[in-house]
Symmetry: C2
Subunit: 342 residues, 2 copies
């Protein structure tokens, strides 16, 4: 009965999505025919619209209004009806030179967030490279006060992690030096997971008296290795939330709240995919109530063989998917490239 594949019906859906994204107003059959040259009459379009509504791709805010796409409509649009839009050479140039100016990892992330927010005109989210996927570059032990040590962990990705360890007795410089050299001998170059297990046998090499201190340090480092000290995330472009239109309370507030909860953000970004694959979550597909009118476009970044972390944007469901996806993909690629050079 229902012709699933009807070329023109899909054209109509595409036109509706494009129009609605551009105007943010329900689109009617007449307008549609005027604006896009579909080569058929409004009446015909109306028939198709009725069918599309029947199938759940579009809906009417109220009788006698135009149609707007449903989440399912956007989904179909993204999956079948659109192609990711590449950036212009000028834009690519701008991205690459802007990122190239970064002085350290923090700076790379900060710049990336800024850039992504600016290009997409949406809220940008960038996760810092995960610790577990990198290896130990160096461990430093610094005496702050005689009873307080600062551990500094430097990873292969350039990330610096710090932990404070309190002791019950004054610690001698000699012991610190010893610790420092043993830690580095044992751990440098190891991947985080391996390093964690290598730590276990560390206390053995020390005198009985020093064991408690060493144990405390081991605990602290383990914590650092296993990312227990939360994932770091950078957010930018919150001012773009203005673009949501009105109904601030319902649309914008939940997003602002989510942006402050890194746990939620991580869920939104989802499992890191490789840089070739874009994840798009539309409206209700998001694992967080309150983002019913919000979509997430995310992708992983890192080397070809290994994804370091995820970045993406958050915006209203009625965003320009082809351009946004293109921008996210491009930025992810350039960041990967910059990091690969390190």
């Amino acid at each position: 009965m229902v012709r699933v594949l009807d070329e023109r019906k899909l054209d109509v859906l595409r036109a509706i999505v494009e129009d609605y994204v551009a105007t943010h107003e329900p689109v009617g059959s007449k307008t549609l025919v005027d604006r896009h040259n579909l080569g058929v009459s409004p009446a015909t379009v109306r028939n198709d619209m009725a069918a599309l509504e029947e199938e759940g791709y579009i809906t009417q805010p109220h009788t006698s209004a135009g149609r707007i796409p449903t989440d399912a409509g956007y989904r179909l649009f993204v999956d079948k009806l659109s192609t990711v839009k590449s950036l212009s050479p000028a834009e690519k140039k701008a991205i690459s030179s802007f990122l190239a100016g970064a002085v350290d990892l923090d700076d790379v992330v900060r710049r990336t967030v800024r850039l992504l927010a600016q290009i997409t005109r949406q809220v940008a989210i960038v996760q810092y490279p995960t610790l577990t996927r990198s290896s130990v570059r160096h461990i430093e032990v610094v005496t702050m006060t005689p009873r307080r040590l600062l551990l500094v962990l430097i990873t292969s990705t350039g990330r610096v992690e710090q932990r404070i360890v309190e002791t019950h007795h004054d610690v001698e410089e000699q012991l610190i030096a010893d610790l420092r050299s043993r830690l580095n001998t044992a751990l440098t170059g190891q991947r985080m997971t391996e390093a964690a297990s290598a730590l276990a046998s560390l206390p053995e090499g020390f005198s009985h008296a020093d064991r408690p201190l060493v144990a405390a340090i081991v605990t602290s480092l383990l914590e650092a290795f296993t990312d227990e000290g939360e994932q770091r995330i950078a957010v930018g472009g919150a001012a773009n939330l203005t673009r949501y239109g009105d109904d601030f309370e319902r649309n914008v507030k939940p997003v602002l709240e989510a942006l402050e909860e890194h746990v939620i953000l991580l869920k939104l970004l989802g499992e890191a995919t490789n840089p070739q694959t874009l994840t798009v979550r539309i409206g209700h597909e998001n694992p967080y109530e309150g983002l019913a009118t919000t979509s997430v476009v995310a992708t992983g970044y890192g080397s070809k063989s290994e994804t370091l972390a995820t970045l993406g944007i958050v915006g209203p469901t009625h965003m320009d998917y082809p351009s946004t996806m293109g921008a996210v993909r491009a930025v992810a690629r350039y960041v990967s490239q910059i990091l690969a050079d390190s």
Copy 2:
């Protein structure tokens, strides 16, 4: 002619401010007399109101509406008519225990922002301790690749600053070790400003061939010492912007934009005052257009003798000043205390 000091007139102003802050609605003479026991008739209050309006402390949104305070009105209220409200013992306890759980400087700042936003229900801003006011605890030089060095600067306040230095030739481990020890001998314990000048003579101790590298490192460190690598700032509680009422575009958007521009934020926070003094900037007093309906409450934190940095909140001019000021002051004190213990 104009009696500048009229006790009752000030009472009326106080009542207007308090009422308006509570209800966010223009307040009329009748309501005012009902709600606060002023002991006079509405007619009398009306006379006072007319005078207050004449003097520029209150205004009418339109004829035949109640009055709302002007910026000048809030200013007078803050300066003369209100006393900073202390927190309850329970709240103090909560603050102190929440902050005590912090594991490092970053964590202290993150927790502070969160706390401040939560207590005041406003947007919180916390500046990281300024580098220039702290001293060098330790400098670490790490080889990342043979031609790429990572400098890690650890300050007395526990802040960790990193810089990458590229070289033209491979660098030998021996040289690195030499550098590390000389840097630390020369700089450890020095204040940033002194350290900067001590750096100048560093290259002298090295062979001619090594000079370029040492010079590059010196440049990089100087940059780090002098805070050129921008001030770090943490922001939280943006979701509280909902509290502004409507007119999103005019009130909320500029604030969101300002929050992303650290340069602007620094100006807003203003010169660090000592922890005893609260700075309040009301509406147009702010050095940034677009914050006409916004006030800033800020104060410094750090030790008694020395202010490390500034923290504060940003909110609508019609905020509850006594409570907000109390909260900001309290948080600043507790943070100072936590940091002093380090």
